[in-house]
């Protein structure tokens, strides 16, 4: 690059870094402000135009102690578990959709959905869920054995892919009540498990789509030669495909982790006392006296810190050296 090019690069990158960092700087200083510092027009630099106060930090860590800690632990557990699950399920599904041909017959899919819907309706009506699920399963197997063979029309990979991504289209407002009812019936409300399952399902489509595109970039010859050498699809997937797509995996993991880490509306409904997560605590700082900017800032800061560390750790893997090495090796 020419020196002018380097300079321009730094100007652009630095400019955007400033845009990104300034609001964060503002949050940081706000966390040390008293209400009067916020209300009375802006003050910018601690010790220069205002005297910082640890009041907000004390409130969050001393007065609220357990009320901060519990959501924190919940958030960590829920976000990590659901991201790992989503990544696991989504990566395999994405690979499957790229390398295998699926032609599930429409009728069979329809029957399966019908049974599932029946079970769901039965559960809402108050039938114990174990019985409902078992009955639906029986019904489906019966129907498949008797009617299933008549259907010819099938759906393909494209349809499955689109169906998956379409799961993210419905706004959460529309589905939050049904999901609440579902978990209430199986007695999982206000547990981390309910939140984990929901987040895994919500983030799955993104993993599938992103990972599929990363896999597409891997040249198929490597896999083919491995297959000729007798490697099973699992082995190929584990030893060739996954290592080659580390950058994609890291980026995707970070993405879904962030989504799960920050989700609000579903958590609001699925949790009350025990499983509440941090975004709820942040939203709660807007109460009858208006937003409590200082408490909110403290919470945003303690919430963002672990994810930043995670990003720093994962950034290494997104870096190009690793990939190049793998390709050449």
């Amino acid at each position: 690059m020419t020196p002018a090019g380097v300079l321009l690069t730094y100007v652009v990158l630095g400019g955007w870094a400033l845009v990104v960092l300034f609001p964060l700087y503002w949050i940081l200083t706000t966390s040390f402000k008293l209400p009067v510092h916020v209300y009375d027009g802006p003050v910018f630099i601690p010790y220069v135009d205002f005297t910082p106060s640890g009041d907000a930090w004390r409130y969050i860590f001393v007065d609220l102690r357990n009320d901060t800690l519990r959501p924190y632990v919940n958030t960590v557990v829920v976000a990590l578990t659901s991201s790992v699950l989503a990544l696991g399920l989504g990566t395999t599904a994405g690979y499957g959709l790229l390398r295998f041909r699926y032609e599930p017959r429409l009728g069979v899919v329809g029957m399966f959905l019908g049974s599932l819907a029946l079970a769901a309706v039965a559960i809402t009506m108050g039938v114990p869920w174990q019985i409902a699920v078992a009955a639906a399963l029986g019904l489906f197997i019966l129907a498949r054995q008797t009617l299933g063979r008549r259907f010819v029309r099938a759906v393909g990979n494209d349809d499955i892919s689109f169906w998956m991504i379409s799961q993210r289209i419905l706004p959460p407002v529309a589905v939050v009540i049904p999901i609440y009812v579902m978990f209430q019936r199986v007695g999982l409300l206000d547990t981390r498990l309910a939140v984990i399952i929901t987040y895994t399902a919500v983030n799955l489509p993104i993993v599938v789509w992103l990972m599929r595109d990363y896999f597409r970039n891997i040249s198929i010859e490597l896999e083919e030669s491995a297959a000729i050498d007798g490697a099973s699809p699992y082995r190929i997937f584990r030893s060739i495909v996954l290592p080659l797509s580390t950058p994609g995996l890291a980026a995707t993991f970070l993405l879904v982790l962030v989504f799960a880490w920050n989700e609000y509306l579903l958590a609001l409904f699925l949790t009350s006392a025990n499983a509440q997560t941090l975004p709820l605590l942040i939203a709660a700082q807007n109460a009858t006296r208006g937003p409590q900017w200082w408490y909110m800032s403290v919470l945003i800061l303690i919430m963002i810190t672990p994810v930043i560390l995670m990003a720093i750790a994962l950034e290494r893997y997104i870096a190009k050296g690793l990939l190049v090495g793998a390709l050449k090796g």
């Binding site: 209400p35 009067v36 209300y39 009041d55 939203a283 006296r289």
Partner: protein, 495 residues
């Protein structure tokens, strides 16, 4: 039989409470092993006193109080979802009584009339009549115990009014005059022009209460049970007439003396604006009073006065839809020819009990709410800013000691309590809308039309038409008869 058991339990609870105060805790307390889950919003306001007094109560009775909080904006839905889906994970709720009708109609809330009647320690008659008879009751039965008194007042800067030689506003026309006189003056000594009037006009926040604080004086003049939202016979909205047009004109005109981004101010902004001295006047609940003496937020300590919501010399003639002058028949409660109608917006946080809870838990929940509302506790809590509790008992106006201790000057305390007392004792208090699904009337139709009006998307005439049409459509959708009956029930009108 069951009913008797409950009654006896309630009485027992009261007895135990009465005797337990001060005596060392006996082993085997009445509510040992009982846990009451109380749902309210994330504090510190409202939740703080519950959390602080919970352990005290446990010591007295053995019942464990578990306060669960959710963000304020989602409390209504959360309570309803819990009961509608029969999850019933909470046995008691502390909420705004405006929502009560949506919980009472389906029969989700416990009728506590008998418990209250048998509860001497609660001193029910010490609670101001409005909160007893209207706020806590529905169709003559009691469902909630008031823990807080909420209504709107006008706050003004005593120092600035004195300097300008003005009196606190008596009518809304006065309000505009005072605002005009203070606008663009430097009110806090920072060398910058400040604002005459700051009102929370943000959409989907508190604006629809603010506009009704103005409109109330024009629409209701014959006592609380006249109501200010609908005609009592037909449920036709009172929003398409000369009186409401005048109220809207005033509300729009206050914007001339407000901050440039007033359309985006909620009460958080108007409160902070007022206590940092940037506003001459503001409409608010009791909060500014206590925020103004908090050294962490205030620059106007002891420079704040409060006055009952301004009134009007002309009121709506419901027969003709016109404005008529106040006289002894049109405005029987007028003072000095001015009809005041203090607006109990939102209604004051109150406690209620989930009917689906087991009897013993309900008894414990009731005992706890009663404990919170009893003088010994409540009269201390209302003077503490962080509780968010404002006065609602007559005895809370006796003696300024607690207020002075909290940092108010004696004259400021007198002025503040005077305004509250004047509102509280007004027989013409305006009850907030409490028909089923009232949020659709106010938060959707009214609020949207007002927001468009303030943004100059529509005219006053169009706004009135939009509100009236929207309310009629909602009423027709939900069933006029049922809504009418509910409206009358909230106002205690029986026919």
């Amino acid at each position: 039989m069951k009913r008797h058991v409950r009654l006896v339990l309630a009485l027992l609870g009261v007895l135990v409470l009465g005797s337990a105060a001060g005596t060392p805790a006996a082993p085997g307390k009445q509510f040992d092993g009982v846990t009451v889950n109380v749902l309210t919003f994330t504090g510190p306001q409202i939740a703080e006193p519950l959390q602080r007094r919970g352990p005290e109560f446990t010591k007295l009775t053995g019942a464990k109080i578990n306060v669960v909080t959710v963000p304020f904006s989602d409390l209504y839905q959360k309570i309803l979802t819990d009961m509608v889906t029969r999850t019933n994970s909470f046995q008691a709720f502390v909420f705004a009584p405006q929502w009560m009708v949506d919980y009472v109609t389906p029969g989700y809330l416990e009728d506590i009339t008998d418990r209250v009647k048998g509860d001497a320690a609660l001193q029910w008659n010490d609670i101001a009549p409005f909160f007893r008879d209207f706020s806590a009751s529905y169709a003559g039965r009691i469902y909630t115990i008031p823990l807080d008194g909420d209504f709107q007042m006008v706050y003004y800067r005593t120092d600035q009014l004195a300097r300008a030689g003005l009196k606190p506003p008596q009518t809304w026309d006065d309000y505009l005059k005072v605002a005009a006189a203070l606008h663009k003056k430097d009110l806090n000594g920072d060398g910058r022009a400040d604002f005459g009037s700051c009102i929370a006009k943000k959409r989907n926040a508190q604006s629809y209460w603010m506009v009704w604080s103005v409109a109330g004086a024009y629409l209701q003049s014959k006592g609380t049970s006249q109501g200010s939202f609908f005609d009592l016979d037909t449920l036709k909205p009172l929003t398409n007439n000369a009186a409401f047009a005048e109220a809207l004109r005033i509300y729009v005109d206050t914007g001339k003396y407000g901050p440039p981004d007033e359309l985006n101010w909620d009460v958080g902004d108007s409160r902070s604006g007022f206590v940092t001295g940037r506003c001459g006047l503001s409409i608010d609940w009791g909060d500014i009073g206590t925020l103004a003496i908090d050294p962490k937020s205030s620059k106007v300590k002891n420079k704040v006065g409060a006055v009952i919501l301004p009134g009007s010399r002309r009121v709506l003639d419901r027969a003709t839809g016109g404005l008529v002058a106040c006289n002894s028949t049109t405005c029987p409660y007028a003072t000095g020819g001015v009809n005041h109608a203090p607006f109990a917006a939102f209604g004051g946080w109150s406690g209620a009990i989930n009917k689906a809870a087991p009897d013993r838990v309900k008894a414990a929940a009731y005992a706890f709410l009663s404990y919170m509302s009893q003088r010994k506790q409540a009269n201390v809590d209302v003077t503490i800013g962080i509780t968010g509790f404002n006065p609602y008992r007559t005895s809370q106006f006796k003696g300024l000691d607690n207020w002075v201790k909290a940092g108010m000057s004696a004259s400021a305390a007198k002025n503040y309590l005077g305004a509250i007392e004047a509102s509280l004792n007004s027989p013409n208090m305006v009850l907030d809308l409490r028909v089923p699904q009232n949020q659709r009337y106010q938060q959707v139709v009214l609020d949207t039309a007002i927001a468009k009006l303030l943004a100059k998307q529509i005219t006053i005439q169009q706004a009135m038409k939009e509100i009236t049409d929207g309310w009629e459509a909602t009423t027709n959708e939900l069933g006029r008869d049922a809504q009418l009956q509910a409206y009358r029930s909230t106002l205690g009108v029986k026919r």
